[in-house]
């Protein structure tokens, strides 16, 4: 029934099945990217210490931004805009983990200790498993 409704809509409008596939694929990819960005924001707010927050921010920032860019590339088709977006994605893929690495490395060099919970290795090794 959904298929028949959709095909009726497509026959009325002037986009074909390829256009519908393009739009829906880009929408799914952008929604996935937005989900990762949202998860990263919640992680930055909720995680207990610096390293876990950096993990949430760095990992999901790369993945979320990349997915949104891929969605935009799919939406803009085979054009010059798409090439520019591809280059932005490539450089973001290089620089974002590098920035995260630099921040984490400087925190480690400055002797910032990660916050360890009661289930950490150092406590459970001697006591109960």
């Amino acid at each position: 029934m959904i298929i028949s409704t959709l095909s009726a809509v497509i026959l009325d409008s002037n986009i074909g099945w390829a256009g519908l596939l393009q739009v829906s694929l880009s929408c799914i990819t952008i929604a996935l990217g937005l989900f990762f960005v949202l998860a990263g924001s919640i992680g930055v707010l909720r995680f207990p210490d610096f390293y876990t927050r950096l993990h949430a921010a760095g990992m999901t920032d790369t993945l979320g931004a990349e997915l949104i860019l891929i969605g935009l590339i799919i939406q803009s088709g085979f054009t010059q805009t798409s090439l520019k977006l591809l280059m932005i994605g490539f450089f973001l893929l290089l620089t974002s983990p590098t920035a995260t690495h630099a921040i984490a490395h400087s925190a480690y060099t400055a002797n910032l200790k990660p916050k360890l919970g009661k289930h950490s290795f150092s406590k459970t090794r001697g006591g109960r498993s």
């Binding site: 450089f91 620089t95 590098t98 690495h101 490395h105």
Partner: protein, 146 residues
């Protein structure tokens, strides 16, 4: 010897030429879209500043000597003002580019390109000069006496 900054060095060595290339893209795109001399100059200076931050101020001063900075700062202003004086000599007002070519539209195009090149040269070198001036400042208090 173990170098703790090897990732930063590799990535920035790869990125610096692309940053400079992007600066020229912004520069020559200024006639048609967003961009222009000031933004391009800042991006071009950012390439040199990134190099200085990663590889040290001495390496950056070897790659982009302070004598170039001094010449470049004044050369940019000279190019900007010289375009204006040239339009005076050709019989127009100060910086009225229309007299630069036979067709006034072409003349405006040439004038904009010359002025933007002047801005690029000046802004790049002023930004690098500010960074060099701050970067090579000696600490007033010794490290031990804090």
């Amino acid at each position: 010897m173990h170098d703790p900054h090897v990732i930063l060095k590799v990535i920035s060595k790869f990125l610096v030429p692309f940053i400079a290339l992007f600066a020229f893209y912004v520069q020559f795109h200024g006639d048609f879209g967003p961009g222009g001399g000031f933004q391009a100059g800042v991006i071009l200076a950012a390439a040199v500043i990134l190099y200085a931050l990663i590889f040290g101020l001495d390496a950056a001063k070897k790659a982009f000597p302070p004598s170039w900075v001094r010449v470049g700062m004044s050369l940019g202003v000279l190019l900007y003002g010289g375009t204006g004086v040239l339009t005076w000599i050709l019989g127009g007002d100060f910086l009225s580019y229309g007299v630069l070519a036979h067709d006034p539209a072409h003349g405006q195009h040439y004038g904009i390109i010359a002025v933007e090149l002047g801005i690029l040269c000046s802004v790049t070198n002023v930004m690098i000069a500010i960074f060099y001036a701050f970067g090579s400042r000696q600490p007033e208090v010794d490290e031990d006496n804090w």
